[in-house]
């Protein structure tokens, strides 16, 4: 009997062992099967999520540390559909606070697919609106009122421009997708935006770890002087109003290093409402006329012709020229601006009276090779390389081009038949104000990244003329301004400069009634610290630059010496021995 029990026990034990082994084998088989790998990967997929961490976009400051472009918090307002209890009340409250039609919100809340857990009502909502909604939600929650249950706010940063439209033509703007358009925002978009980082964030707190710090975008410091920029913009608006000009631009640059101190152009837009772009501009070239639009500059280009002729030895300041009022170049007769003859003149007189005939004679004496060689060296027809997006190159026709004619040698000498941007003219003229060295204009002063400041070194675009030529012409232009008692003069400061009145080319020849007026000038003559370029389009009160652009230059120069702390010549002569 006992033996029978023993045998049964052994059989049951063996059976259990076999069953146990079978379970273990099955467990191992399941764990190592192909399906197990699929299930494991599915489990891993829900154990966390990849999150993209976007760095804060770098800020933009002026040279004195005034914030020109920063960031501010805005909110995405959404509703958690599973927590929402009263869609009609929710839609009504949100429509009154967000300004969205009730029907639109109600449709989103009530007709979303069943699989949706969350629906976005509006993004980029201002903090003040969200604060009001939060306060109301809290009140209702305290009263156990479910009308706003499920309402959620997700904060994020948005570009903000504290100065609104100030320097808008230089800064550009950033759209909601985070991309910069125009100006600094586009040119340095990659630096400002930084590098977004994608990181796996586990849901299991046991696996939570410190997320590596995502460095902010690079902060930029510009060469702009905010106060001067504001003043120049104000003077430009005043000039447009006074002289009946639809648009214009004024640029102030330091000729010693090419730093742009102020760059005003019209129209300007409030950068916080960049949606106005399409109502203000027909195309991108109008966004910043200083760099984006080229035009025939007229007589301001005579200073380059004179610089070239002096440097080539074709003329000297005392070279005599008998002005008969006309000259034939390439079979075409060229006349002076008033169609008059001015008799015997020296080169200062040619500049002072802005004689087309004299300058056409000079370029003819130089010959095409020398004249266009100098124009190329002055950078005419080439971009300046300024660190702003959207720069135009202008156009300099040269012998060999299909549309170049021999008469162009004469007309180009006084700025007709050649297209330049205001900035190109400013860069070329900087050689005259800066001992023959042509400074490359730039807007970026320094970059701040990872706690380090990198200053941008000044660059020079060559020396088209010698220092001696530059100083000679500098003096000639100062004398020229003084002798004509120009409205461009500023008491206490010796300045040099030249006006430019240019006819406007059309498809049917030159416009007989409208002109572009310009002025390029700098000072103080013995130590030039600022250069100003002015372009007013089609002024209606007068077609002459001497009556429009010259007084504007005087006002700009007057404010520039105040804001840049440049003492009058008498005071400076006490400090700096001559």
């Amino acid at each position: 009997m006992r033996q029978q029990y023993a045998i049964r026990s052994l059989i049951i034990a063996a059976g259990l062992v076999v069953a146990g082994l079978a379970v273990i084998v099955q467990m191992i088989r399941i764990q190592t099967s192909e399906q197990a790998m699929v299930f494991l990967s599915q489990g891993d997929r829900y154990s966390g999520e990849f999150q993209m961490f976007y760095p804060e976009r770098g800020e933009i400051y002026d040279r004195s540390g005034h914030l020109l472009a920063g960031n501010r918090t805005v909110y995405e307002v959404g509703v958690s559909l599973s927590e929402m209890e009263t869609p009609d009340s929710m839609a009504y409250i949100l429509s009154t606070h967000l300004g969205i039609p009730y029907e639109e919100i109600y449709k989103k809340l009530s007709e979303s697919p069943e699989t949706w857990e969350y629906v976005v009502i509006q993004d980029y909502v201002a903090m003040e609106t969200v604060d009001a909604l939060k306060g109301l939600a809290q009140q209702l929650d305290d009263a156990d009122d479910p009308r706003l249950s499920g309402l959620a706010f997700k904060p994020h940063l948005q570009r903000s421009y504290p100065e609104s439209s100030l320097a808008s033509n230089v800064l550009g703007f950033v759209t909601r997708d985070g991309r910069g358009y125009f100006g600094i925002e586009e040119k340095y978009n990659d630096l400002l935006a930084g590098n977004p980082v994608q990181i796996w964030v586990p849901r299991d707190p046991n696996k939570a770890s410190e997320i590596p710090k995502v460095p902010n975008g690079t902060t930029l410091v510009l060469t702009l002087n905010r106060d001067l920029q504001a003043k120049v913009e104000s003077l430009l608006d005043e000039a447009l109003s006074d002289y009946g000009s639809p648009n214009g631009t004024i640029v102030v640059m330091d000729p010693r290093n090419g730093e742009i101190l102020a760059m005003a152009a019209t129209p300007r837009m409030d950068l916080n409402n960049y949606g106005n772009y399409f109502s203000l501009y027909d195309d991108g070239s109008q966004y910043n006329r200083s760099i984006g639009m080229s035009y025939e500059p007229g007589s301001v280009l005579k200073i380059l012709t004179m610089a070239a002729a002096l440097d080539a030895g074709t003329v000297r300041p005392d070279t005599s020229f008998i002005d008969t009022g006309m000259i034939e170049v390439g079979g075409i007769t060229i006349q002076n601006w008033n169609r008059d003859s001015w008799g015997q003149q020296d080169m200062v007189g040619c500049l002072q009276h802005s004689l087309n005939v004299c300058l056409a004679w000079i370029s003819s004496q130089m010959g095409t090779q020398a004249f266009y060689g100098y124009m190329e060296r002055f950078g005419i027809g080439h971009s300046t390389g300024i660190d702003l997006s959207g720069e135009a190159t202008g156009r300099l026709k040269v012998p060999g081009d299909g549309d170049w004619y021999p008469v162009d040698l004469g007309t180009n000498a006084f700025g007709q038949g050649v297209a330049v941007t205001p900035l190109q003219m400013l860069m070329a003229a900087s050689a005259i104000a800066n001992d023959g060295k042509m400074a490359t204009p730039h807007v970026l002063y320094s970059m701040l990244r990872d706690g380090h400041q990198y200053n941008v070194p000044s660059q020079y675009a060559g020396s088209p003329i010698s220092a001696e030529t530059a100083n000679t012409l500098n003096e000639m232009l100062a004398v020229s301004l003084e002798q004509e008692s120009s409205q461009a003069l500023v008491p206490g400061y010796r300045l040099a400069g030249k006006t430019g009145t240019a006819q406007i080319p059309t498809d049917y020849g030159y416009d007989a009634f409208h002109t572009n007026v310009s002025f390029v000038g700098w000072g103080p003559v013995d130590d030039p610290q600022f250069m100003v370029y002015i372009w007013l389009e089609s002024p209606s009160t007068s077609i002459w630059a001497s009556e429009t652009a010259s007084p504007v230059f005087s006002k700009v120069a007057e404010q520039t010496v105040i804001l840049l702390n440049i003492p009058p010549d008498v005071v400076r002569s006490q400090v700096v021995p001559k």
């Binding site: 960031n71 501010r72 918090t73 609104s164 707190p205 046991n206 997320i211 006490q574």
Partner: protein, 153 residues
């Protein structure tokens, strides 16, 4: 005599209650050991979970503080913008200076300061620090590593 002693010892060893006590003792020893290991594991795991939650909260706090900082900076810039300062100056009775009203004093050797932007005090220390595995791995992971790779040398 010797035979009697041997019988007593043998009887003592073979006593059923003695064998059972030994088995129960061994079983309890295993249970207590397992409980201690489990308690230790739970303690470490709980502390890790708390630290993980704190990290997540701190991460959210950092984001909030960064946003607030950006907001305050922009708000300050709004309040001190060129237009706002000009308006406040006019309200306070100031007016733009005219060229003839400026007096310059010659100071030999004085040079205007170059533009200098004071950098904000940023944490430039390396952010990714090497932490020993003991601070990050669980007990089971530690066992697993030892089984796979043996003791550290």
């Amino acid at each position: 005599m010797q035979g009697q002693v041997s019988q007593v010892i043998h009887a003592h060893r073979q006593a059923p209650w003695r064998v059972q006590r030994q088995l129960i003792g061994a079983f309890l020893l295993v249970v207590i050991g397992a409980a201690m290991v489990a308690a230790l594991y739970l303690d470490v795991t709980a502390r890790t979970a708390v630290a993980g939650r704190e990290i997540q909260e701190m991460r959210a706090q950092i984001s909030t503080v960064q946003r607030e900082n950006a907001d305050l900076e922009t708000r300050l810039a709004d309040l001190t913008s060129s237009a706002a300062m000009q308006r406040r100056a006019l309200e306070a009775g100031y007016r733009p200076v005219q060229p003839g009203e400026l007096d310059y004093v010659a100071v030999p050797g004085f040079a205007l300061p170059e533009p200098a932007i004071l950098l904000a005090a940023e944490d430039t220390a390396p952010h990714t620090q090497m932490r020993p595995a003991e601070y990050t791995q669980s007990l089971l992971e530690w066992f697993d590593e030892r089984i796979k790779f043996g003791a550290p040398r």
